[in-house]
């Protein structure tokens, strides 16, 4: 380090130092711009792909998805030109923060399936809410059936062991989403 600590005064002019850094930034900008030019379209495509894949997982027999106008992130799943499901985002406050989900609902207001996109629940406990063992219970149920209980019946949702708060949060988020869809769908008809 010693040798560069004793630079000449001319090297240390404000201008020179500033330019040195500016050139470095410009170079970096060029590199980033180049990379971005290559990756940006791929990333955009990938984003759309992902979304479609997720929706496809929820509504397996859909042929295409269309964004609903006037609603952010609401999609209709169509088969043979007919709406078979609405795919809408749902959100709720869980044990460790927001749980973001994607729900597929039939136009009749029955749940097809849901998918948890992001959560911060306890690993091994709350995060079991995304496992089919729990999510299966929702299929075919209507909003009014979504009540969390400890002892299971056909009409209700059985809570995950040790994660009652998460179970309630997920159920609440989905119920709200289903209610919205039902309202929207009936209004449309």
């Amino acid at each position: 380090m010693a040798h560069d600590a004793h630079g000449h005064d001319s090297d240390n002019s404000i201008f020179k130092i500033g330019m040195n850094l500016t050139i470095a930034c410009l170079l970096s900008g060029a590199i980033i711009a180049g990379t971005y030019a290559v990756t940006a379209p791929v990333a955009a495509k990938e984003r759309v792909n992902l979304k479609n894949k997720a929706m496809k997982e929820l509504v397996a027999d859909a042929q295409s998805f269309k964004a609903i106008e006037g609603k952010t992130d609401w999609y209709t799943a169509e088969k043979d030109g007919k709406i078979v499901a609405y795919v809408v985002p749902a959100e709720s406050k869980g044990y460790g923060g927001a749980i973001k989900m994607l729900t597929a609902v039939t136009p009749e207001g029955k749940i097809i399936d849901y998918k948890i996109l992001a959560h911060n629940e306890t690993p091994g406990l709350g995060d079991k809410a995304s496992e089919p063992k729990f999510s299966k219970q929702f299929a075919g149920k209507k909003a009014e059936d979504l009540e969390v209980v400890k002892v299971p019946t056909d009409k209700n949702i059985q809570a995950l062991t040790g994660a009652t708060i998460t179970s309630r949060a997920v159920t609440k988020g989905i119920r709200e989403a289903v209610e919205q869809v039902a309202a929207y769908a009936s209004q449309k008809k």
Binding site: Y95, T122, G124, L125, T161, T164
Partner: protein, 331 residues
């Protein structure tokens, strides 16, 4: 010379003053605490049967065994006979459901002794209560098993396997009272211990008797349990109800969960609490307040364990700020 007054070279012992000591020792203190805790432990065996005995044995055995192995390995004198590892094991057993699979308390005890105690240098140096670290470790590791409570042996009508605090958290106070019949029944079973919970939570009466004996012997200061339980009582009375301020049920909260056990046997663990009585009062009030905070607002139904652990971490700060009143400070 009529009598012998010769003294051989190297016969006399020389040490700094004083030359007499009282006859207390660490082992005596620890075994006395063990002894006062034993009736409650036996009570848990009565309530929960064979399972509780196994858990108790595994906890104690693993704690003592771990201590033995670690000290052998380190080449330090083995101190398992001083009763402190035994106590850690027993306290851990009393803080967990009696029915957990045997390997859980085994690992919990191991962590309690090895990580919480011996990484810091062994008895006297640990910052956190080893038994509580063991419990917190187990609760974080196996949340389901650790919150699945055994039903009482020969369970009485309708006493389910949820703890009263758990019921309160998830189903509300009315449901809780209804489960037990009426409030008098609730209080009675809380006090005598005929309710679900961890092994040590069940017999408030016996624990209090043991604690009082320790106070009488001077091994613990009465201020700690009094202020801790008192704080819980006052705060739950003030904020614990749904009908506005001062509608809570302090009596229930004071007897519920591990509060009695914690206040008498763990918040008084001399190694991990402030050294001055004033500091201990601050500690007790803090632990009580945190207990209530966690019970009323937190994700867990019971907060005693975490409240004490959190206050353990504050202990060095308390000791730094609260020192004994020095002679000569005033003229």
């Amino acid at each position: 010379m009529s009598a012998e007054t010769k003294v051989e070279v190297n016969q006399l012992t020389v040490s700094a003053s004083p030359h007499i000591r009282c006859d207390e020792s660490i082992a005596k203190i620890m075994w006395t605490v063990n002894l006062t805790l034993a009736p409650a432990a036996l009570m848990s065996v009565y309530w929960f049967g064979f399972h509780a005995a196994v858990t108790l044995a595994v906890c104690i055995g693993a704690a003592v065994g771990t201590e033995y192995l670690i000290q052998k390995w380190q080449g330090k004198p083995v101190t398992i006979s001083d009763g402190s590892a035994f106590l850690t094991g027993m306290l851990l057993a009393m803080n967990i459901p009696a029915t957990v699979p045997w390997y859980m308390p085994l690992l919990g005890s191991f962590v309690a002794i090895s990580i919480a105690k011996h990484t810091m240098g062994g008895l006297g140096y640990n910052i956190f209560n080893p038994a509580l670290i063991g419990r917190a470790f187990m609760l974080a590791s196996w949340p389901i098993a650790m919150t699945t409570w055994p039903a009482l042996a020969g369970a009485v009508d309708g006493v389910t396997s949820a703890t009263p605090l758990g019921m309160l958290k998830l189903q509300g106070y009315e449901k809780l009272v209804a489960t037990f019949g009426d409030t008098a029944n609730l209080y009675q079973s809380m006090f005598l211990g005929s309710r679900s919970g961890s092994s040590g939570e069940t017999s408030a009466l016996i624990l209090i008797l043991g604690g009082i004996y320790l106070i009488y012997r001077g091994y613990i200061n009465w201020q700690v349990p009094a202020f801790m339980i008192g704080t819980v009582g006052v705060l739950t009375w003030a904020f614990g109800g749904h009908a506005g301020l001062f509608s809570g049920d302090p009596l229930f909260h004071m007897m519920a969960g591990g509060l009695i056990l914690g206040a008498f046997f763990m918040a008084t663990d001399m190694v991990t609490i402030p050294i001055t009585v004033k500091g201990q009062i601050v500690f007790a009030i803090g632990a009580g307040a945190l207990t209530v905070l966690i019970r009323l607002l937190g994700g867990y139904p019971e907060g005693v364990c975490y409240a004490i652990l959190l206050m353990n971490s504050v202990t060095p700060l308390i000791d730094r700020l609260i020192k004994p009143e020095k002679y000569g400070a005033r003229r």
